[in-house]
Symmetry: C2
Subunit: 420 residues, 2 copies
């Protein structure tokens, strides 16, 4: 279930094995989520960072790809039910790789006013709101309060997504788009990045957190740390006793498991499954305790190492778990003994990076800690390498060269507004 | 009003003139409509054929670009009202270049079941329906009736749009996507092209109409001429006493003026304006009779030549009228005499073409009539030349090379289906 990094890696690793693999996703595409913020800020089109799963995995003869949304998992009957007609599937092995959804921390009503960033629809919605606000600012004349609101962007959450969004929005308004607007309004755009913690990028080295803050502030972003969000409403955010009137509110504060995963906690599931902080605890074989034929991988799996540290919710973690789950399935197909002999999962950290703006990023790879231009070039190269197919690489490369040479982003289409 | 081919040409021609030009569009982009069918059939992304109007016209100092939808035109007060807050604009000269909308010929209820193709949203909706049908066909097992319905595409209207859509859909199912689907279902896709007239492409030379029919039929398209559509309902079309069960119904039967243009027929408008067959009659100066400061150009203008033939609703007609209206405005700014001396509008036909599939098109340029591969190469070159900016040219060129070399279309993203 799920065609993200984990699901793809698992399906690939089952190539040539004498099983029938069915990969099911609610969309028809794999999404390169690390670049999703660039779609949200108009730098790239959706099709640059998403490819049909069929295209990626063509030629794997034991693989079927079905587009459907899973509605429920019946672990006792070994059946998954889907949303279309009476479509359901029985399984021998189930790999749950559904990825995380936006966590509203008990305030689901805030989702009507703030925007998450987990899929293409989210990215398009943010882009529509941002560019729409700039367009409205061009028309607004005699209403400075509304003008300021339209041009205020609040980003909640100082992890990689929040930092990348804040930097990209600031750059979009101050450098990229300003020359094309006639009124001087765009220059007054305010970007406010709010986090409850003491530093940005809390999973990074503190030096790099500090560097990111300095770089963002130099780009004009207001960084509010140790600040709790009290309320999110229509066009405003209250945080740390300050009320921000904001036309665009972006919620990057955290993720959790989708509802169908929480449903696994139902009373009648034996043995019981307990979701912990939005993740399903799994063993070193990526299987759920007591359910040896059910695997959970990627962002929804809590895979803890000896020191109690979770494998992070990154593409590399998902891919490594996906391959490991496939390895365990291949072994299990032979015998329980062979399965027991599979080496326990160990996470290999290949490094983490986050971009802040043109010529600015932070990267932590092995012993190397880098900021600024060096980290930015590293970031560019790594992201181009990992883009799934050659056409996307060429396309994204072309668009980046274009954007950086001429400050002219390519993903900027707005539909007619539905309502005033 | 309107940032299509006509509006852009007019605004450009007013560069350097001592007037304040406000170009208003309900979207933020100019759309290269001749390639819209390729977005609908997954060959291109929206951003390949649409550019922000601000980007296209940057650097024109007497130009403002506002994104807003016109709600009403008050010719007596010389004011246009818009859909956002209390935004309205007074004008000295008004150029109406709003383009045409889908004509349902009195059956607006059919628009709930059939899909028009006039803007990016239309194209995305058709793509979603087509690709979604292929995905559902992959899951369907024991319901041959529903399977046949999902894989039947009816295209109504045998003009250039209908011919191009029918050819592109047939190619998509039979060549492009088939290798990526496991079930043999996709090969059973049926495309039916229905037209009430005696031949396809009625504005083309009869030889080319015949050629288009032969080429389409060789690609597996069923062409039903002299066939009237009696009814369009949910999942079916009745035409010429045959009922077609069809999951996708595309309506390319004709265009008309948008509602705001029809509103100009109101009683209180003096002198009266009469819309004829979806177009506003204009004089040789592109102005509406009795309203010398109000111009209508492009698809909504009925500009008749000496022989009573309308300037066709093509990009070249719109551009020529846009430039002519600008010329008349420039002259009028000097004096009524100078305006009266402007040469009457004459339409210069630069040729027409329509593509049918890979290596197949029809073209009529001056005395040259061509079909097949020659016409197809001509079509490719002409469309690349006229794409607005260099980045789009490079991008579309890359995608076409990719698609024609590997049969791998690039605009294929499907969102999660909202409902079963």
């Amino acid at each position: 279930l799920g065609g993200g990094f984990g699901g793809l890696a698992c399906a690939r690793k089952l190539k040539g094995v004498d099983v029938e693999v069915v990969l099911i996703d609610r969309t028809n595409h794999h999404l390169f989520q690390p670049l999703l913020y660039q779609v949200a800020t108009a730098g790239l089109s959706g099709s640059d960072i998403a490819q049909p799963i069929r295209t990626i995995l063509r030629g794997q003869s034991n693989l079927n790809i079905h587009m459907a949304s899973a509605l429920g998992i019946d672990l006792a009957a070994r059946v998954v039910k889907f949303d279309w007609r009476d479509y359901s599937l029985e399984y021998d092995y189930l790999v749950i790789a559904l990825g995380a959804v936006t966590n509203w921390f008990g305030h689901n009503e805030w989702s009507q006013h703030a925007m998450g960033l987990k899929n293409l629809e989210d990215a398009y919605a943010i882009r529509e709101r941002l560019l729409g606000a700039f367009e409205r600012a061009e028309i607004l004349r005699d209403d400075p309060v509304e003008l300021a609101r339209q041009l205020t962007v609040v980003v909640i959450g100082g992890g990689a997504t929040g930092v990348e969004m804040a930097g990209a929005v600031a750059e979009l308004a101050s450098h990229v788009l300003k020359p094309e607007y006639r009124s001087a309004n765009l220059a007054t755009t305010r970007v406010i990045l709010i986090d409850a913690g003491e530093r940005l990028l809390s999973t990074f080295d503190p030096d790099l957190s500090a560097r990111a803050k300095v770089d963002l502030e130099r780009m004009g972003v207001t960084v509010q740390l140790s600040t709790m969000v009290q309320e999110v409403g229509s066009g405003f955010v209250v945080a740390g006793n300050t009320r921000y009137e904001a036309g665009t509110i972006i919620w990057a504060a955290g993720v959790t498991a989708p509802a169908i995963v929480y449903d696994l906690q139902a009373e009648n599931v034996v043995p019981k499954i307990k979701i912990e902080r939005g993740r399903i605890p799994v063993g070193k074989d990526c299987a759920i305790a007591g359910h040896p034929n059910v695997f959970a991988i990627g962002d929804i799996a809590a895979m803890t190492d000896g020191a109690g540290v979770n494998t992070p919710g990154l593409a590399q973690g998902a891919m490594q778990m996906g391959e490991h789950a496939a390895k365990v399935i291949r072994a299990d197909l032979i015998s329980a003994e062979i399965r027991a002999a599979v080496k326990p999962f160990v996470y290999h950290d290949k490094g983490t990076m986050a971009t802040i703006g043109k010529s600015s990023a932070v990267a932590h790879i092995g012993k190397l800690k880098a900021g600024g231009f060096v980290a930015w070039v590293l970031w560019l190269v790594v992201h181009l390498i990992f883009l799934v197919d050659l056409r996307s690489k060429l396309n994204v490369c072309l668009k980046w060269v274009w954007a950086y040479a001429f400050y002219r982003p390519s993903g900027r289409l707005l539909s007619a507004r539905k309502s005033p």
